[in-house]
Amino acid sequence: MKYLGMDRMDRKVVVPGDLLSEDAKKSGDGTFIKDGKVYSLLYGLANYRDKINVIPLSGKYIPASGDNVIGIVKDITFSNWIVDISSPYDGLLHISEFPKRIESEEMSKYLRIGSSIMTKVKDVDPTMKVELTLNDQKLGPIKTGQVVEISHTRVPRLIGKGGSMISMLKKEVNCNIFVGQNGRIWINGAAGDMDLALKTVLLIEREAHTNGLTDRIVEFLKKEKVARS
């Protein structure tokens, strides 16, 4: 092929239809197999490990069972809260998925239209009906702190390999952070710390496609801290 673009380490920018491998067994996320060969389905970064995955550079969040997400209540029906999860599909939070037993009339007392919640996708059916739940200790309404929204495609970089980036960030900026797979991120801490956390998250979003990101973020945090003290 004529234009191979950046070819650093094991990552490469690919466009839909690019041939990735002759070995069908290597097909991972964002790829498809035709005539025993692996091709890219997406415009994104191809990762060559034991399997080839293509990570998209943009696109909408598609809910999957088990994802932690941050949602905003947009409507209340007889027994469901309808929750915007920044996706083409709305989430449904059933009254029985609230940690406490409540009556239908009281629903708006606990979660009003506009309330932000840390929630989890309980199930997604083939017609893309998305069921949410609040039955977990770390889930619940957001009362303090702030929420930022980044592209959901950058979330894996924000978390890092095995959570390396996010645990480093939490420790360094002294904030509590909840990362929603849909790209919404909740940050809670002292005002100054929150500002720095926010700046860092946005920096990670901007540079998510580059190599050696964690090291550069550590460097950035060091510099910012010197500037502030």
Binding site: G17, F32, Y89
Partner: protein
Amino acid sequence: MIAMDETDISFFKDGLRLDGRREDQLRPIKMEVGVLARADGSCYIEMGGNKVIAAVYGPREVHPRHLQDVTRAIVRYRYNMASFSVEERKRPGPDRRSYELSKVSREALEPVILTNYFPRSVIDVFVEVLQADAGTRTAGINAAAVALADAGIPMKSMISSCAAGKVADTIVLDPMKEEDNFGQADLPIAMTPNGDITLMQMDGRLSIDEFHKAVEMAMKGAQDIYQMQRKALVDKYSQLEGEPHREEVQACD
């Protein structure tokens, strides 16, 4: 065809065309990816005198609701010409021609889009022609394919589009306005890089041999355009700079 003695216009001078191109040469092409902040994907393209912008939104919720399909995403494609895009003011709004172009362009792109990934949703493609100079449908399809990729929509491959025509009994690639208006035939195609044709139209008359030659020439042109589309996309993320930047691709052959 306009009642005009075709021998009146000479399409060739010293073996070159009116704008100095060879028979099998494309007009200069420039592409820019991600030009619109609010769209999920976008592309601006210049193909000779054509200036076209494409925007992709979605997958998103379908409005009006009755259009939605529970098994797959629907694709909507709107081709529109600005009233100032042609010499004589075009009456704004959809007309017979733009309905037809919207339909054929949608059908040119739909086969490569994995619509079954996004049930009950819509992928909206808007193509606005800002300046027209023959071959706006091909420019629109090229821009739309890049914008779809930029929007992160899963596709089996890219789509590239190019036209061939016949003027003064000669088959030429990518006819410009004069050749289109006073030529004998126009044959736009769209295809995947491995040669599967998803759009083919013809206006005018061609013999079977001429037809084969024109298709072959247009496919070669589309192949070159594919390389430019690819380069425009790859270049967007090839540099390390933090601030968002744009890459321009210039190609003349």
